[in-house]
């Protein structure tokens, strides 16, 4: 469902896409997994605005795709229009991922913790789950290989943002601090974009820190909606920047004219 953002001329899905898009640099080389409408819109928008050289492989397969519209699956051929290459999974994709030729990946989980680790495997004990979820898919892999990890969630609540995951399907900053470095893994999570705020990661402990608040949301509300203690920055917390009219026009008319992104809300 499309929710208006108070004081901005846009909706929450649009604010999240634009926040994601602006976090992408021109040297981004990204690909996407399942149910990734917000990142997919973000890559396509960034390429049309400030990051013309950004590489995006639709469904991890279709390099430089530019589909007319986004269908109901972000892994299906409906996303591959305009691609310059359909790459092959084991030989091309996994080699580019292992060698960090792709440098950017975004994932979300049914649960996420303060260090940006995610669970998409089970709610409850592994052997006797209350809910069996789809499984981690490529999260356990790509979390170890890709240096710039982005997280997002359209359901910012204490059930999603938890102190302790029931299962760690994908690694973010692991146990925090220098855990990734000790494991020999590059980079780590950069941002987590939610329907309430944007988190970055405090540089020493690597825990989520409030970076900006969406209009109408207070820091107290973010803390109440989060199952772990949120790191508060020093000084005033800025508002998440307002999308420009041009960003909104491109998103609404060129990137995602059928509003497929609302499937995440």
């Amino acid at each position: 469902m499309s929710t208006p953002v108070p004081g901005y001329d846009c909706t929450m899905d649009e604010l999240m896409v634009v926040a994601f898009s602006r976090a992408m640099s021109n040297d981004t080389r990204a690909f996407n997994g399942a149910v990734s409408f917000i990142p997919v819109c973000g890559y396509m928008l960034a390429r049309r605005t400030h990051a013309p050289d950004l590489v995006w492989a639709a469904s991890s397969i279709a390099v430089d795709a530019d589909p007319d519209e986004i269908g109901d699956s972000t892994l299906s051929d409906s996303l591959w229009g305009g691609a310059s290459m359909l790459s092959n999974s084991p030989f091309d994709f996994w080699t580019y991922a292992q060698g960090a030729r792709y440098n950017t990946f975004a994932f979300r989980g049914a649960q996420m913790d303060a260090c940006g680790n995610v669970n998409n495997t089970v709610i409850g004990p592994y052997d006797a789950p209350k809910v069996r979820l789809p499984g981690g898919g490529g999260m356990a892999d790509l979390g170890t290989m890709i240096p710039r990890i982005y997280l997002w969630s359209s359901t910012h609540d204490p059930r999603t943002f938890v102190e302790r995951l029931d299962f760690r399907s994908g690694i973010g900053w692991g146990d925090g601090g220098d855990h990734r470095e000790r494991l020999g893994l590059p980079g780590g999570p950069q941002l987590c974009i939610t329907n309430l705020c944007v988190f970055d990661f405090e540089p020493v402990g690597k825990r989520m820190r409030l970076a900006s608040l969406h209009p109408g949301v207070t820091a107290e509300q973010v803390q109440q909606a989060t199952g772990f203690e949120v790191v508060m920055p020093e000084g005033a917390i800025p508002a998440t920047a307002e999308p420009t009219a041009e960003e909104l026009r491109l998103l609404r008319t060129e990137v995602d004219p059928t509003s497929a992104r609302l499937r995440e809300f």
Binding site: L75, R132, G135, G136, I171
Partner: protein, 289 residues
């Protein structure tokens, strides 16, 4: 001797208790006609290797054919969780050995390369590795000279691989057009036998005229089962896309046990032939929509 056979005979070659690897990825290129036939033949105690799957696993679990699933991911993506898979696991009837895409790929590569293990950094720092401590199927190790950590993925023997391709000849040469094979090469290379369903049978001359387009050579394919729209309700790029309506109707029916039993009988296992199945689902329309 021709390797061309029927879906029924191809499926009959899969014994109860076999380890069966399912090709395709999520809603793409899954060998649904062969899977449907396994369900119709009431296979028992199968172990499935399903790297990223959805409807194929759900049909087999609904048909009570499955004991274990080795998987990275099983879902209908944005159209929901795979309902029978979820219920089967939650009730304890089906066991899941969770890996990840690359851990499974590496286990299959170790198998096909005849090596004790294939290394990867996949899985480091996650709870996935802990699930396999007892079996040792994948294990964290450290390279002594460099000190680098890696995960050693041991061989994964597969009895039968089921894949969907566009064309094959009578000798078993097969091709996917374009060569968009997801992880199907990995399962074909690791499996003792491979059965390919194909959109159509082509003459050997079609392969010798364009040998650069052959995906699997004849010595890797043991049986060829013609099945037009054989991946339906999944896609076979570029001929047809997945049919969202089928996924939605299936998930809707699964909310009620009685309704699902009827749906599964009328629209999945009941129709006698693959053509009957396609008719029962208006597949020619749905797949191209």
């Amino acid at each position: 001797m021709s390797k061309v056979t029927t879906l029924e005979q191809a499926a009959a070659q899969v014994p109860d208790g076999a380890t069966v690897a399912i090709g395709g990825l999520s809603m793409n290129s899954a060998p649904m006609a062969l899977v449907r036939e396994l369900v119709r033949q009431e296979k028992k105690d199968l172990t499935l290797v399903a790297i990223v799957a959805g409807m194929a696993v759900d049909w087999l679990v609904a048909g009570r054919c499955v004991r274990r699933v080795l998987s990275g991911l099983v879902s209908f993506e944005g159209l929901g969780l795979a309902p029978n898979f979820r219920a089967g696991v939650q009730s304890g009837r089906v066991a899941v050995e969770e890996y990840s895409e690359h851990l499974l790929i590496c286990r299959l590569q170790a198998q096909s390369s005849n090596l004790p293990f294939m290394p990867t950094k996949a899985g480091l720092g996650t709870d996935v590795l802990g699930l396999h401590t007892a079996s040792g199927a994948v294990r964290e190790e450290r390279d002594a000279p460099s000190g680098e950590r890696y995960v050693a993925c041991t061989r994964l023997p597969v009895d039968v691989a089921l894949v969907h391709a566009h064309e094959a000849d009578e000798r078993g040469n097969a091709r996917v057009n374009p060569k968009l094979v997801w992880m199907d090469n990995e399962i074909v290379n690791a499996a003792a036998r491979t059965v390919a369903s194909v959109e159509r049978v082509a003459a050997t001359e079609a392969f010798t005229a364009e040998p650069e387009r052959t995906t699997y050579p004849r010595f890797m394919i043991d049986a060829v089962a013609p099945a037009p729209l054989g991946a339906y309700p999944c896609s076979s790029f570029p001929d047809y896309s997945h049919d969202s309506e089928f996924f939605t109707a299936y998930s809707q029916a699964a909310r009620d046990r009685g309704e699902f039993t009827q749906f599964f009988r009328e629209r999945v296992v009941g129709p006698e032939t693959w053509e009957d199945f396609l008719d029962a689902n208006n597949a020619a329309t749905g797949a191209s929509a």
